[in-house]
């Protein structure tokens, strides 16, 4: 449980950090909630660790042009407790509050979490439902992409070598939208056995907009487009919700482990989709 030798640097300037990360076998350290345990178990052995924690320009939450921009090293606690996030994007604050425990939320960062791409992490479900965008930066370039394109597979993202997450861009929620994140937690790790994020808006007694993000069920988080399509245009009665939730795991290769078999996990996904949609609907204006 002791890491192998590594160089450690803690630059205060983003450009300097990106320069360091251009080196082979350099690794960015954010909150360290996943990387440090992996290093201590010697599953990961970077030669150079570049701590992003002292780069002031990566830690912010601000409103800009109808969206919230959240810097990569913003901690889960900062997201959870931010009056701005709570007012303008309550789903993200709710998801942040579900992550780990208070110690983890004080250390762990949004950028670190998405870059790690744990298939059971809490944020991805909400970010997918929010149709968030992600900004990636390296010493050479900066690019922006939809979050759905960012998550490639288990622990695999669109990040290129030398590239880090710079910020998340989440749209400011319309006041009439109701949102909810519902999760069954794995009792040892606190990760999601299944976590469902739902956003719903009604118009003229019908579901006008619905977005559903799923985490924990399979190798990567996804947007349940089939659920959305089934529910859209209905009155949003419980039967409509259940009918829509019934397809959430269709065609998905569900994970199986000590805490939940594939069959049970798929069942939980349907139940938690129903619960998240019901809670979100109850919060619509």
């Amino acid at each position: 449980m002791i890491a192998q030798n590594f160089e450690y640097s803690a630059p205060t300037d983003l450009k300097e950090a990106l320069g360091m990360l251009a080196a082979e076998n350099a690794k960015a350290l954010a909150g360290g909630m996943s990387l440090i345990p992996a290093m201590k178990l010697r599953l990961s052995a970077p030669e150079q660790l570049v701590d992003l924690g002292r780069i002031a320009e990566l830690n912010y939450i601000r409103e800009d042009g109808g969206a919230l921009r959240i810097g990569a090293t913003t901690t889960h606690y900062q997201v959870e407790s931010s009056p701005l996030v709570r007012a303008k994007c309550p789903l993200l604050a709710e998801a942040a509050a579900h992550i780990g425990d208070i110690q983890v939320r004080n250390m762990g960062t949004i950028g670190g979490s998405v870059a790690h791409a744990d298939p059971a992490a809490d944020y991805p479900a909400s970010l997918l439902a929010l149709e968030a965008k992600i900004v990636l930066v390296s010493a050479k370039s900066q690019r922006e992409m939809p979050i759905a394109d960012f998550f490639v597979d288990t622990f695999t993202t669109a990040l290129e070598p030398g590239e880090i997450v710079r910020e998340l861009i989440v749209p400011v929620e319309e006041q009439s939208t109701g949102t909810s994140y519902q999760k069954m937690l794995q009792p040892a790790s606190g990760f999601a056995i299944v976590g469902i994020a739902a956003r719903v808006r009604k118009s003229g007694g019908k579901i006008a907009m619905v977005r559903v993000g799923v985490t924990g069920l399979s190798g990567k988080p996804y947007r349940a487009a089939n659920v959305e399509k089934t529910l859209e245009g209905t009155a949003g009665a419980l039967a409509d919700i259940q009918k829509a939730a019934a397809v959430v795991a269709d065609g998905v290769d569900a994970n199986s482990d000590l805490f939940a078999s594939a069959q049970y996990r798929a069942h939980l996904a349907r139940i938690y989709t129903t619960r998240a949609l019901t809670a979100a609907l109850s919060r619509t204006a």
Partner: protein, 776 residues
């Protein structure tokens, strides 16, 4: 000499805050890993990644070459160190020779193979990775029932049946009881393997003093003196040249009631390199190499009359021992047999234990050690019988309790229950939970299609372990009480508390007995160079035995104090009153400090007396003590997910006389939480290859504060006649009473579906499957 002696308020029975806590919560306590020494080296142990394998060769060259590495030792280097000891003896017990480092064969994942010693812990860890061990993996078996099957891989080739021992006990006439039974219920009940998970893992610092050929070994242990005696034998060192010191211990729960290979190994290393050496166990090592608890597969049969009277109990107990014996491994299931009748007046019992070797780390004492398994078994069986007879679970218990007039009560298993009023905590718990009302609520819930359950457990346990003939190494405890020349009181106890609060409770007792303030008393423990000798803290014995030894030492001291008082007051009619002596005729008095000063100055001695005020007592208890209680759990099952909500947890515990209610509450809370861990979440799972699947805290689910119910804790107080303090013990009660209350509650919730039994842990998936119609 005319000092007024003021009446001191009695401290026993008061909710006094623990005197240990300031250092613990301010981070100033010193644990093994806090110890730094000049020239200290660090050890890292190379361990088997295989559940079973032959060691074909070990190449340590690359490791030894790494700068900073001073030594690498393998099994053949440590061959002369004595085996890891097993203190338990049973007829026909097979004891595998367990070297501190494997020599040619490993038989569980984590089995130590080599040790690397370096100037810092990072180099040691890097070098350990460079030790090349060439293994030839062998087939493994980790399930005890599969290990008993014909053709199973043999954990030890010399014993192909994997059977370490068979143990049989009969009481009364069990065949007649079953022949005449009006009803018989049977059930297979498991008590899964658990990982004790103390917050502080194990750790050792060993320091060799070449000049006087003596070794000081600091270890996170519950038993410093026993450790010294056994380690001295292992290392071939004279016992009086080995000093064992127990710094602060961050939890043990039985897992540090042991003598481990690593303790001897560090002693060996320190003697070889002539420098201090430190080894701190990682969490992964703690999970794979420190003992586990439980590991039962029990087959119960209960015979009864149709009115609910229990007439006979049969138990076939399969104990998963793991790969070899640690200190008490084979003895633990025998404790289950002792307690198999629980609180019930049943004189016909039969128990058959088979101890089974598996390719896993040994099981041994874990909080409750045999009694949680026994309680879980009998309390489940009583509920199954009640369901069969359509009786209320409270009524069937009332019907079978040993009566209040039956004490001392001789059990079918050969024990004598000291005192009891078994109905009292049950009635109190029923009252607190509002039994009638919650049954009404349950009816309502069922009519709404909800699954709500009420579960009762009335447990008895065996504490103050124990009279010496019943223990492998002596069951007494010792205390030296010293009134210093200044009048301050120092207590040296052989009990080695590690979180139980005895620095506080012992001081309360001593302060009351000597009539001094609690701040005048210091309780010292855990250093074999300071404390006379002792057995240690385990088996809920600290206060009942160690506290009693201190009590008797104080009584002896009081006699001496009175003699000095009489001399100093020049009176023949002197009483000991609140910290000093009073001349009953003149009313003149003298304080303890004045008497103490005079006793050490020794200008004059009372006739036949010696100078100084020191008394030592080694107290042998005449019996165990037997606490009891009732726990009630109200639960509700989410039928969509199988998730369980504990709506109420009522615990009424009778641990005899209570010294400090605050500490007793803490013990009950901690005990219940570990019981909930077993009931709901925890399970040590090995796969068929002998890999521990739950090898980290990310996979092994210990209870979290956020997942726990409010514990409504209260008490009845039935003093024990076994010791003058009237105390019984409470360290394990919560754990023992808890798990059957939870399982009984959830089974009750699902009983409309025909569910009769569920094995722990009650995971949501297991429950959901039952709701879907799966059978349990």
């Amino acid at each position: 000499m005319a000092t007024t002696i003021t009446q001191t308020e009695k401290l026993v029975g008061k909710r006094i805050r623990r005197r240990e806590d300031p250092r613990l919560i301010t981070g100033t306590a010193v644990y093994v890993d806090d110890i730094q020494m000049p020239g200290m080296h660090h050890a890292c142990i190379v361990r088997s990644p295989h559940g079973a394998a032959k060691i074909k060769s070990i190449d340590t060259k690359a490791a030894a070459k790494l700068p900073g590495v001073v030594a690498v030792f393998v099994g053949k280097d440590t061959e002369k160190v004595g085996p890891v000891p097993c203190g338990a003896s049973l007829p026909g017990l097979r004891v595998p020779h367990h070297h501190i480092l494997a020599i040619d064969r490993v038989y569980f994942v984590g089995h130590p193979v080599a040790v690397v010693v370096a100037t810092d812990r990072y180099i040691a860890a890097d070098a350990a990775d460079l030790v090349e061990v060439n293994y030839e993996p062998l087939p493994t078996v980790t399930d005890p029932e599969k290990a008993l099957a014909a053709g199973a891989p043999a954990v030890h080739p010399e014993w192909p049946d994997n059977t370490a021992f068979n143990f049989h006990q009969d009481g009364g006439d069990v065949d007649k009881a079953f022949a005449e039974a009006e009803v018989v219920v049977k059930q297979r009940i498991t008590s899964q393997r658990l990982i004790p998970t103390s917050m502080e893992t194990r750790g050792v610092v060993a320091e060799w003093h070449a000049g006087d050929r003596s070794l000081t070994l600091r270890s996170s242990t519950q038993i410093p003196h026993l450790l010294r005696t056994l380690l001295a034998m292992m290392l071939g060192l004279e016992e009086n040249r080995l000093r064992v010191v127990t710094p602060e211990v961050g939890g043990g729960f039985g897992s540090k009631l042991n003598v481990y290979a690593e303790e001897a190994l560090m002693g060996f290393v320190a003697m070889k390199i002539g420098k201090p050496v430190k080894w701190i166990e990682s969490r992964r090592e703690n999970f794979t190499c420190t003992i586990h608890g439980r590991g039962h597969v029990d087959y119960y049969e209960v015979a009864a009359k149709r009115d609910g009277t229990i007439t006979g109990i049969k138990l076939k107990l399969i104990q998963d021992l793991g790969a070899y014996h640690q200190l008490l491994t084979p003895a633990i299931p025998t404790l289950s047999v002792l307690m198999m009748p629980g609180l019930y007046n049943c004189h016909n019992i039969r128990a058959d234990i088979v101890g089974v070797f598996t390719n896993a780390v040994p099981t041994d004492a874990y909080r409750g050690a045999g009694r949680p398994e026994a309680t879980h078994g009998i309390e489940r069986m009583v509920d199954i019988l009640a369901a069969e007879l359509k009786m209320d679970p409270a009524d069937i218990r009332r019907k079978n309790f040993v009566g209040n007039d039956a004490f001392p009560y001789a059990t079918a298993t050969g024990l004598t229950y000291d005192s009891g009023n078994y109905a009292a905590p049950l009635e109190k718990a029923l009252d607190i939970v509002g039994y009638k009302k919650v049954r009404e609520e349950q009816k309502q819930a069922r009519s709404e299609g909800r699954f709500m359950g009420i579960g009762i457990s009335t447990y008895g346990e065996i504490c103050a372990i124990g009279p010496s003939p019943a223990t492998p190494a002596g069951g007494w405890e010792s205390a030296t009480v010293k009134v210093e020349p200044s009048g301050k009181v120092t207590v040296m106890t052989g009990a080695s508390p590690h979180g139980q609060g005895e620095e506080t409770t012992f001081a309360q007792i001593a302060a009351d007995e000597l009539g001094v303030g609690i701040d005048d008393v210091l309780v010292v423990h855990g250093d074999t160079a300071v404390v006379q000798y002792g057995i240690g803290t385990f088996g809920s014995r600290g206060t009942a035995i160690g506290g009693t030894a201190m009590y008797f030492a104080i009584q002896e001291l009081k006699k001496k104090i009175v003699k000095y008082g009489a001399m100093l007051l020049a009176s023949e009619d002197v009483s000991f009153v609140n910290g000093g002596c009073v001349d009953n005729k003149s009313g003149k008095s003298i304080t303890l400090a004045e008497i103490a000063a005079a006793s050490y100055r020794a200008m004059a001695l009372p006739p036949g007396e010696t100078p100084g005020l020191v008394a030592t007592n080694f107290w042998e208890p005449p019996n165990f003590t037997f606490p009891f209680g009732a726990h009630i759990v109200v639960s509700e099952v989410d039928k969509d997910t199988g998730a369980i909500t504990l709506k109420r947890y009522v615990a009424v515990d009778d641990c005899g006389k209570i010294i400090n209610p605050l500490i007793v509450d803490g013990q009950v809370h901690g005990g219940v939480v570990q019981g909930l861990g077993q009931a709901l979440w925890e399970q040590a799972v090995y796969d068929d290859d002998g890999q521990l699947v739950t090898g980290e805290l990310m996979d092994y689910a210990i209870p979290k504060a956020s997942n726990l119910p409010w514990i409504e804790s209260s008490h009845t107080e039935t003093p024990s006649p076994v010791n003058p303090l009237g105390v019984k013990g409470v360290g394990e009660a919560g754990t023992i009473g808890c798990s059957p209350a939870v399982v009984n509650s959830v089974v009750d919730a699902l009983s409309p579906l025909g569910v009769r039994h569920i094995d722990m842990p009650l995971t949501p998936e297991k429950i959901w499957n039952l709701v879907q119609g799966g059978k349990a």
